[in-house]
Symmetry: C2
């Protein structure tokens, strides 16, 4: 009896994610999947980045939310192309939803695409969407134990931003302990500390981004 060995069979989602990646690459669009808990600062970071790179980098945005278009309206005021995906209850974006949004963006005019995923520290980490990098944002008021309690998110991260460092004097957040836990889960991850409110640390994040764009 012949034993069939099935190797490297991609799931339907991973197959579409791979096609998304090819579409992005063929248009020269560097894409960042932005993930975090609700309210950690995904939209604030994207806004601050758009404002700081205006004129220098052509940016596009996909906004993922269960419902509402608040974030897309906010981003749209900055004059960049933006598409809102409403998942209709789903707790994460998947590759297929992302594909439909990509089909509605002028990819040839975009160098840097942010995909703001649904606010969820669990499910979003489980679905590839085709982005080049996974960015995870933690905010200091959430507490420094989150990587221990939601390890998968930090395992799939390429870059981690600790946001709301302006609140450090008012909250219990041990930055060293946090970094140590993240590095134990994922040795190669880069960790930056920022405040989208005061602008502190944003320069280092922008340098990282521009370096990625140069090496596209």
């Amino acid at each position: 009896m012949e034993i069939k060995v099935l190797k490297d069979i991609l799931s339907a989602n991973d197959q579409i994610a791979q096609e998304n990646r090819q579409l992005l690459d063929s248009n020269g669009v560097f894409t960042v999947n932005v993930m975090s808990s609700p309210g950690a600062g995904k939209t604030s970071l994207i806004l601050e980045t758009i404002r700081r790179l205006k004129g220098a980098v052509q940016i596009g945005v996909i906004e993922g939310d269960i419902s509402s278009s608040i974030d897309a309206e906010t981003i749209g005021k900055e004059g960049v192309p933006v598409i809102q995906i409403n998942t209709g209850g789903e707790c994460h974006l998947d590759a297929s939803m992302t594909y439909r949004a990509l089909s509605n963006l002028p990819l040839q005019d975009i160098e840097l695409l942010f995909i703001e995923n649904v606010g969820n520290l669990i499910c979003t980490a489980e679905f590839a969407i085709g982005a080049h990098k996974n960015l995870v944002i933690s905010s200091t008021p959430e507490g420094f134990d989150k990587p221990l309690k939601y390890p998968l998110m930090f395992t799939v991260a390429d870059i981690v931003l600790i946001n709301k460092i302006d609140l450090l004097p008012h909250v219990n957040f041990d930055t060293d302990a946090y970094k140590k836990t993240v590095k134990n889960l994922n040795e190669s991850v880069e960790i930056f500390e920022v405040s989208c409110t005061t602008g502190q640390g944003i320069d280092r994040w922008l340098s990282w981004l521009q370096n990625q764009l140069r090496n596209r």
Copy 2:
């Protein structure tokens, strides 16, 4: 041909949730399902409540997390019965996991049971576990637009706590706008403002709890 009309058929999860409720009722255990984003203050609220009601109310706790037993260890130091459920990746507790935890608690010695659900503002709202009340915690640094973006959670809530009001001077949180959005989704919900750090507003929460216990 006879047409079968299937009505009121409970899902497997709802069936077990109903059995959990019967088990809790037969032991006189008032049970609160505590839900929020990661880091909004579920564990802090449970800890503060245990400390303030020590000697007056017999409390038990079920801790739900993807992995780790940090929260159960913290709660256990207060000398109350506690069970940790590790969901092993699942983004929410379900009725069956809850049943297994209930079977390992001395229910006859518990008047008030907190079930701390996984930190997730989406999926936890979709699964009944048998609790008497759904408590949703929002924290001020998350921003006041969360009910618009995660409406189901606020629709299933019986009581909403706005936590971290000590941070109000440092964050952009419009309490009136937040309350209006929540009330638009769910007219009958009660909303309290608290700080687990300073103790502000905790008395009103404790009064509500003790009133519920009296009316068991």
